[in-house]
Amino acid sequence: MINIYMNRKFNKLIKIFLILIIPFLYSCDKGIEPYPVETGPDITSFEGKVTFVGAWPEGINRTYIVVFSEPSRFDVNTLQYIIGPIPYGVSEFNYNSIENNLGLIPKLAAGEYPYVIVAQSKTPELSLLRQDWTVAGIYFNQGNTALPGILKIEQGKVVSGINITCDFNNPPVQPPSRWKMNYE
């Protein structure tokens, strides 16, 4: 007798339980997914000309165009893209950011980049340390040299006219030798 009573009650309770857990069993997406394999050429890029004025310093081992995500902050945390190398001693260098990509960073995403420079280094091996680099030229918007120009990259477009002048006789202001973190 007790078994029959229990079975009926049990079936009823199972139904109550299932109704109550329905809110838990709502469907949801699958969370993170594998990134898709990139297909087709991406033309998102920028291009321009670097002009060198004066005699090149001796001992330069590499010269690159470097894009940073924060103004006047030259360090690995803000480094976004590298173009080069620019041959030693040239007076002009025409570039396209895809064709002349150094290869260390595969792609520059669409967005705004407030610090685009030409940087030179004398170290035998490639170094990411700030103190191993000198800024030879800075990109300014249409001759306004008060502040570094902002490079605006749009998806699927080629931005032209990103020209930089490197005047070895009149070098630009150097960013801090070591970025002073707010908490230092």
């Binding site: 969370g31 945390n77 970025w179």
Partner: protein, 728 residues
């Protein structure tokens, strides 16, 4: 799979061999009363896992007839009263009718807790937020490691194996902790990295787990700046009891074809045995555990063997001594980061075949003496040796020895006034090619008082002094005061508030680690690392309008100075640095509901956290802003059904620079999502021969939701396990 079958067969042989007792039958009788000694009519009395049962009559009397002799569990339930379970009834010794008293069903608010003041207090009297977890969760969810259970506690989060209370820690690869994790009040962090090795927690001997949310440095010192998790172990059984558990499980296929890396199913299994008894004044418990996990990821296997021994000896009614010894031997793969999001279950090429071998030994001694009704003392001494070898391209080794002694006195001046005071000394030495070979010394003294102004108002006041010397670093001194107030507005509504200061010294690993992190990134030492301090405030309330509902809510604010976090420096190195100002604010809200007394319980907890680096005005890393935990439990007769939900909002701030070129240490590491995990558990209690059994089927992450708790580390995919346990 062969191994699993072997284990199941082995376990079945062990379990069944104990189950042949007498074939004689007998009646079992008894009376059921309420707490006022009034007989309860209509209470169901069932022998767990059988069809044997009866209901009590108007006199509270019941009789179950023709029961084979044996050892049984008896379940007694009636609407409005808490279901009672009487374990291990030796029916062949039972001649007198049983007398059973049932308590009214209610959500417990008056549990005893020792971690808030280092002496026994009621939760309703304390001035800080706390949670108490019972050991049942380990069986119900087939939990083999404590951090798995902590993942379901509101206000507590676990990223990989690093625990954080109210956002006190982000993720730092096991270097340092801000939560004081202890066994019977004795901390179990290692002497080198200061990490918690969860496998060392003896979960088969847990009576309860007490969690204090918020800074407790004024009582527990440096590592308690974020809170306390204190594991209280059981007293040895008065009669010989042996408990055996075995389980086996399998991981499902991953969600995407790209992630399939192995043709066969990945499995895990384990077996553990515990025996506890008492010989006159000596109680003893010992256990041995074996756990093998293939893992759902390549080179992420884990094999471990552990042993545990606890002896408690009552010298006389006023003196006792307890020894706890624990040993762990582990061999595991070293999966550090995924290769990329298309290869989420295989490690980076450079990390392939890296393994870690470790062994750990922990021993502690607790001597208690009651000098009078008002004055008692406790001496705790412990030793923790940790040794690991990381085997990869280079061999990394670390061996640390941590010695600790603490003397605690408790003075009950009168019914209203209690003073707890103590002194503590600890010393650690480290030998390693990762952290050089530093030593660590700390000495401290504290006093904590509780004063009851009236039945409604309770206050606490505490102060601790710490001196800490870490090798070549200058010695540091810290004073950490604390104050709190508890106000019982009514029987239903209790308010609490507290101010606390916190202090945390950097660990040897945070200061001295010097190692290659891969991809040309070095972890570099920082001998200038300063200790961090905090000031926190909390106000909260418990509201229990009726026995079946309990609400607990709290607002908290903690301001940190010199907060220690790992950071990618401008030189491209990872280094632990001090953030000058950080603030963590938030609210906790939990509610426990008994929807059908004795049958259906529901609980939900919500936590909002706003943790930010003040100077850089951005969120702190690896801290979800919103978390929700809920569980629903249904226990009809011998069945148990349970479902758990865990939700984290998407973590805002991570180490973005490590996830993209030029560093690109963790390819696609920014690929993350909110966390929505649902678990399901079904259990059944039954009897074979004379022994009670429990069988649980657990489905974890049943929707196979893909998420990361830390970048480049896909969390466990859907898996199922079957566990079987018995005791005799």
């Amino acid at each position: 799979m062969n191994n699993i079958m072997k284990y199941i067969f082995f376990a079945a042989i062990i379990l069944l061999s104990y189950n042949f007792l007498s074939a004689q039958n007998k009646n079992i009788t008894g009376f059921i009363f309420d707490k006022d000694n009034q007989p309860l009519n209509g209470a169901n009395v069932i022998i767990s896992g059988t069809n044997f049962g009866a209901a009590s009559d108007i006199n509270g009397y019941f009789e179950i007839k023709n029961i084979p002799f044996g050892i049984y569990d008896l379940e007694i339930s009636v609407i409005g009263f808490k279901k009672e379970k009487i374990r291990n009834i030796k029916f062949y010794e039972l001649f007198e009718p049983l007398r059973i008293t049932l308590r009214p069903e209610s959500v417990e608010t008056d549990q005893i807790i020792v971690s808030a003041g280092k002496y026994e207090q009621r939760i309703s009297d304390i001035t800080v937020s706390s949670v108490v977890i019972g050991p049942e969760i380990f069986s119900k969810k087939n939990i083999v490691q404590l951090d798995e259970a902590l993942r379901y506690v509101p206000g507590v989060s676990v990223a990989l194996e690093q625990v954080s209370i109210r956002g006190s820690s982000g993720y730092s690869k096991g270097a340092g902790t801000r939560v004081f994790v202890a066994v019977d009040g004795i901390p179990i962090y290692t002497g080198d990295t200061g990490e918690i090795v969860w496998e060392m927690v003896p979960i088969t001997d847990v009576e309860r787990i007490e969690i204090i949310k918020g800074p407790a440095s004024s009582l527990y010192g440096s590592t308690a700046i974020g809170g306390v998790i204190n594991i209280i172990t059981k007293k040895a059984a008065s009669e010989p009891v042996t408990y055996i558990k075995t389980f086996a499980g399998v991981y499902d296929d991953p969600s995407y074809d790209e992630w399939k890396w192995n043709k066969s199913k990945r499995t895990f299994f384990g077996v553990e045995a515990v025996h506890s008894s008492r010989l006159n004044n000596l109680g003893y418990t010992f256990s041995i555990k074996r756990f093998d996990n293939d893992s759902y990821r390549e080179n992420d296997f884990k094999k471990r063997l552990s042993g545990y021994l606890k002896l408690d000896y009552d010298i006389d009614v006023n003196k006792s001594i307890t020894f706890i010894g624990n040993y762990l031997d582990m061999n595991r793969g070293n999966f550090i980061y995924w290769k990329d999001s298309r290869n989420a279950l295989i490690p980076k090429d450079s990390d392939r075949d890296q393994t870690v071998k470790s062994d750990r030994q922990f021993a502690s001694l607790i001597y208690k003496q009651k000098f009078s009704d008002t004055f008692s003392g406790e001496f705790k001494s412990s030793y923790y040796r940790s040794n690991f070898e990381g085997i990869g391209i280079e061999l990394t080794t670390a061996t640390s020895n941590l010695f600790r002694n603490e003397l605690i006195t408790t003075s009950k001046i009168n019914d209203k006034f209690v003073i707890v005071s103590g002194v503590e000394v600890s010393y650690a030495d480290v030998k390693s090619n990762l952290f050089s070979s530093p030593y660590f010394l700390s000495a401290s003294a504290y006093v904590h008082s509780e004063y009851k102004f009236s039945d409604k108002i309770n206050s606490t006041l505490g102060l601790r002094y710490d001196f800490i010397k870490l090798d070549t670093l200058a010695g540091a001194n810290a004073l950490t005061p604390r104050a709190g107030l508890n106000y019982k507005y009514s029987d239903e509504l209790i308010f609490r508030t507290s101010f606390a200061t916190g202090f945390r010294a950097p660990t040897p690993a945070e200061v001295f680690t010097s190692a290659d992190a891969g991809s040309g990134i070095m972890v570099v030492e920082n001998p200038n690392l300063d200790y961090e301090t905090s000031l926190s405030f909390e106000i909260g309330a418990i509201y229990q309008p009726i026995n079946f509902i309990k609400f607990d809510a709290a607002f908290f604010n903690t301001d940190y100075n010199n907060f220690i976090e790992p950071l990618l420096t401008s030189e491209g190195n990872i280094q632990f640095v001090n953030l000058p100002k950080a603030r963590i604010q938030g609210v906790d809200f939990t509610t426990d509901l008994i929807l059908i007394p004795g049958l259906l319980n529901f609980s939900v907890g919500y936590n909002y956290l706003w943790a930010r680096d003040i100077n850089n005005n951005k969120a702190m890393k690896y801290r979800p802003r919103n978390t929700v935990y809920s569980s629903l439990e249904f226990t009809p007769y011998s069945f148990e059904f349970r479902t758990d939900l865990r939700y984290w909002s998407k973590v805002e701030e991570i180490d973005f620079n490590l996830t993209k070129p030029p560093i690109n240490l963790i390819a696609d590491g920014e690929n993350r999502a909110e966390v929505i995990v649902v678990d399901l558990s079904i259990g059944y209690n039954f009897v074979i021969g004379a022994s009670p059994f429990k069988i649980y089927l657990n489905g974890k992450n049943i929707f196979n939701y893909n998420y990361v708790e830390f970048i480049g580390n896909l969390s466990p995919i859907r898996n199922f396990s079957l566990s079987l346990e018995t005791y005799f």
